[in-house]
Symmetry: C2
Subunit: 305 residues, 2 copies
């Protein structure tokens, strides 16, 4: 959620000259737009992630676009992607995208920061439908709303090491000063359900105090698990810091892309979604609710690789 209040933190004027707020940021990232489109507007939206985390993106898309039918694929047989090499992540992402296109989707949302960082360019080059990643929408929102240009980014070790958010923020706003921090314990803490425990608060202070000390006025939650920690992260950072939820921003970007391409479904429809996992669908069924915010009735299993 983007906090509409002005930052109350001191801004470092030297590093952040007064600029009109992001006049140069176009509404839709040009790289997202495909070379040709064949699917009808009644076709589903394909979303994939290495596991369950991407359901926070699916949730925001369902909220914002209630008439859109969704096929969600969680690659639970090969989760997590974070420690895997870029080549391997590209191979997995291509395979899943090809399957989603066979299933007739009109757009693919890569709801995984690692897959976006390593594979988005390859997917956009290889496939003829729009492919939307989670990095650029969050990065562009941060560039837009930050007053001081001091922007923090948190994510898994892999996402931070990739430098993808820094590149995307700098592409949108050259004067940005970016401090990125890997928070590898946040995902297991969310998966354990410890969203507001003493241990989680201690871990959050260890990871976030340096960002707070650096007086960032905007913090990008660069991992699909982190929206569940939003209240705790917000308290740890202090009320003046705006949190950018990549899941919300990606849903907004999906909405813009569909409108731009004339591919939006009838908003009055009440579609049935599909959830597919590459392993342990019963685990997906049990745990998915926490991320999706509502119960999942059925999970199909599809073996890939």
């Amino acid at each position: 959620m983007v906090d509409p209040r002005k930052s109350e933190l001191p801004t470092a004027a030297a590093a952040a000259p007064e600029l009109p707020v992001a006049p140069q940021i176009p509404e839709v990232a040009p790289s997202t737009l495909p070379r040709s489109v064949s699917a009808p507007e009644t076709a589903p939206i394909g979303i994939f992630d290495s596991g369950l985390g991407g359901l926070t993106v699916a949730r925001e898309i369902m909220t914002r676009l209630p008439g859109e039918r969704i096929i969600y694929f969680g690659d639970t047989a090969r989760v997590p992607y974070g420690p895997k090499s870029p080549d391997t992540v590209v191979r997995y992402s291509r395979e899943i995208t090809a399957w989603l296109i066979e299933e007739g989707v009109k757009v693919v949302v890569v709801a995984c920061n690692t897959a976006t960082a390593h594979a988005l360019d390859a997917l956009q080059a290889d496939f003829a439908i729009p492919v939307i990643g989670v990095v650029e929408p969050g990065a562009r929102a941060a560039a837009r709303v930050s007053d001081s240009g001091h922007i923090g980014v948190i994510g898994t070790a892999g996402t931070i090491a990739s430098g993808a958010y820094e590149r995307a923020i700098h592409a949108a706003r050259e004067d940005a000063t970016i401090l990125a921090a890997a928070c590898p314990l946040f995902v297991p803490l969310v998966e354990e359900g410890w969203l507001d425990e003493d241990a989680t608060r201690l871990v959050a202070h260890r990871y976030l105090d340096p960002l707070r000390a650096a007086t960032v006025d905007t913090l990008v939650l660069g991992c699909t698990h982190y929206p569940l920690l939003k209240p705790l992260i917000s308290r740890t950072m202090g009320g003046g810091v705006r949190l950018i939820d990549s899941a919300e921003e990606t849903a907004a970007e999906t909405c813009r892309v569909l409108a731009h391409m004339g591919l939006a479904a009838d908003p009055a429809g009440r579609p049935t979604h599909r959830f597919v996992a590459s392993d342990a669908p019963e685990h997906f069924l049990r745990q998915g609710q926490r991320f999706l915010g509502e119960a999942i009735e059925r999970v199909e299993k599809l073996t890939l690789g």
Copy 2:
């Protein structure tokens, strides 16, 4: 390490009748012994794990059997095995074992609790060389050294849910009262290197206080990552509780099996070991030292699956 001191905790006499200490536990588990053996004693020992954790087992084997050559395979492309279905884990384990046998190993050590729980029986049935798991050696040691028969087991969610340690302890000691607890945050805490931090202590108390309250006198560290947390776990449990390190017990079992089969290498040899990973060998090289206790000079990459 097995603490040689007697437990100072009260023993629950009702639940644990006085028994001679494990008279019924044979020295080598009969299921480990193979149907036939073709490899010479100069052949290497094959060890595999889903990732780096099994290096704690390799380390104990190197210490106890310094003349043995080791081929270690970490399935880093598919780590972790914990959330994966039993069928998938059996498939991966068969594939790796077949590869190790092609490489000429004389014995395979499954240095992964999940793979042992799901796949050990299948591997022992399918392959003609000895296959040693990590569960039974630790379980048998706990059954042997516990005075009260009140035994705690900690491991990943998958290991605990499998019930493998309970079954193995009960098989060795019918009167045992077993309390098992999943500690899913311990692995990421070890991987973060937070072996003695405030957050780790808080997490340890959350997980271990119920085991302490239940007056277990013996605690099995049922995960290959946990030996790195031994000092902190020992302090949290109190000095009277004996910690059973599955890595040490598995090394001892390997030593017994090789002696029993006449397959032990010349202890005066100074062999060169091989380390192989299915993905990101440079990450393995950097992080492996923490688990192995010494630097790794070279990691080969082998793509499986």
